[in-house]
Point group: C2
Chain length 309, copies 2
């Protein structure tokens, strides 16, 4: 009856801390290069932001997902929270500040998938993150943070460390802006550009070794189709990427981080967690759209099995 | 007691028909020229659209202002209507369509005021304008339409003609898209580019003469600091622009059209109406921001007096 008892167990939970953005995405024939007036072919309003999209991935994969983020008390902030809640993300730790503007991006995408992104973050949004309840109380098994909200990431990694839980930092450029959080994390998951930004060297394997030496943490770097390298004080290895037909990589890194955090919250071993994350991100890449392309657990497990053959 | 009786008279009304847009305006150091990620210095969400901004000008100048427009039944549409109502524009003739998206633009503005505008209009928005009540019932004294909603402009100009009221078309490019409405208007108020687009000739005075001959209407063309040329079957003339320090021309043309329509609704003679419109637009140009820079009547009358000296 192991299967049945496993199904009745309440799902593992992940707290994600970081940015939530509203993206205004215009489909264009060509990326504009001159200050003129252009007409877009199509348009969509979609949610974005590393931590927020990772939180959607956690929920889509069947985990309990909480998001701590800072929004403006404005129409965009209401829209961001409503979309996240629609995906099953618990936004009770998202704070809306009166007099502040929510983060927003306008994205122009051409037919080849090239993107021009214009982002605004309100410098008036208070940095502090002092409303985090006891992690045992909210019952999460792992904490994930992005580098876009340095104080939030630091508070989240501190709480994870105090609770003895995995604290994963999504180490995307500019990583140094969240240096305190990186040094507090138990798991530092770099993108290729994030690792090069941190080490100043494009040898990725040497890079993760040096960060292990520097921090004592588990360190990984994901390099698209080349897969993921990882190392800690005791081991190192490589997990290949799943072979898929890539349609749209938007949000794939965020999906990887959400799935990885959920796998750690579920006490999976590290290579299994990386395989789970890689499969989730790979499926996302086969589907058009950001959050709309995030797979459920059945699809991820099916791809993992296929890769095993 | 003429002053008192004039003050007690109910204000003249203008119906504006055309587009209402939400503009997402990013202040940037430089207009982007490559598909990369950029961070904006500042950001504002502001209402735009020719007819909508003209309707705000009518209200700001003390007129009764009604706007007929098509919106999506979405968060942006709610925001557009709420902002307009905040300016005192009656939106009971604005229609929100379920399943449609409201018009939206992202605007990048650099330190020199250069602009890159990316606009999206939902092609699914129904063209028809069949909810216009009897103009006598709604008690307006003039009707204004832009060229961005051809069917709306045509219905508005037809109704104005039937009621014997001035029907003003804001003849901005692409003018030919609203050709039926232009031919029905009693007053065709071109921008420089609108007139050149219509006649194919950059001689503005010859251009308005040819449009008078073609349509029998009153025809004007406004050319920024060079002022306004006008002509009809009986007269022609020129009204110089007010000399002001230009800070921001955003929306100045729309203010000109709203003020001109209100002056005609108030039965002012044509040169007085042009002077009133030119003064309102000139003050707008001295102030940063679109609608936020629209003057009230006292400021316009003060500038008109100053110009008389």
């Amino acid at each position: 009856m192991q299967g049945a008892s496993s199904e009745n167990r309440s799902p593992a939970g992940v707290l994600s801390a970081g940015v939530a953005v509203q993206d205004f995405v215009y489909s264009v024939d060509q990326i504009p290069t001159r200050p003129e007036k252009y007409r877009a072919r199509d348009f969509a309003t979609v949610g974005g932001g590393c931590a927020a999209t990772a939180a959607v991935a956690v929920a889509a994969l069947g985990g309990r997902s909480l998001l701590a983020t800072r929004l403006g008390r404005d129409a965009v902030g209401d829209q961001i929270a409503a979309e996240l809640e629609g995906y099953g993300v618990d936004c009770s730790l998202a704070r809306q500040y009166a007099g502040c503007r929510s983060s927003i991006s306008s994205v122009f995408v051409d037919r080849d998938g090239e993107r021009l992104i214009m982002n605004f973050r309100d410098p008036e949004l208070p940095d502090r993150f002092d409303w985090l309840p006891d992690l045992k109380e909210i019952g999460v098994g792992a904490v994930l943070a992005d580098t876009r909200w340095a104080e939030g990431a630091k508070a989240a990694m501190t709480a994870a460390r105090a609770a003895g839980l995995p604290g994963i930092i999504d180490a995307e450029t500019p990583v140094r802006e969240a240096e305190d959080a990186v040094r507090l994390a138990s798991h530092i998951a770099f993108s290729r550009s994030g690792l090069i930004d941190w080490t100043g060297d494009d040898d990725l394997v040497a890079g993760i070794r040096s960060v292990v030496e520097e921090t004592g943490a588990f360190v990984s770097v994901t390099d698209g189709a080349a897969g993921t390298w990882y190392a800690d004080a005791d081991q190192e290895g490589h997990v290949p990427a799943c072979k898929v037909d890539v349609v749209d990589t938007l949000g794939a890194g965020d999906v990887w981080h959400g799935a990885f955090a959920l796998a750690l919250a579920e006490d999976r071993n590290i290579t299994d967690a990386i395989r789970f994350a890689s499969a989730a991100a790979a499926i996302k890449c086969t589907r058009f759209g950001g959050r709309a392309g995030i797979p459920d657990r059945a699809a991820v497990e099916a791809l993992m099995k296929e890769q095993d053959r």
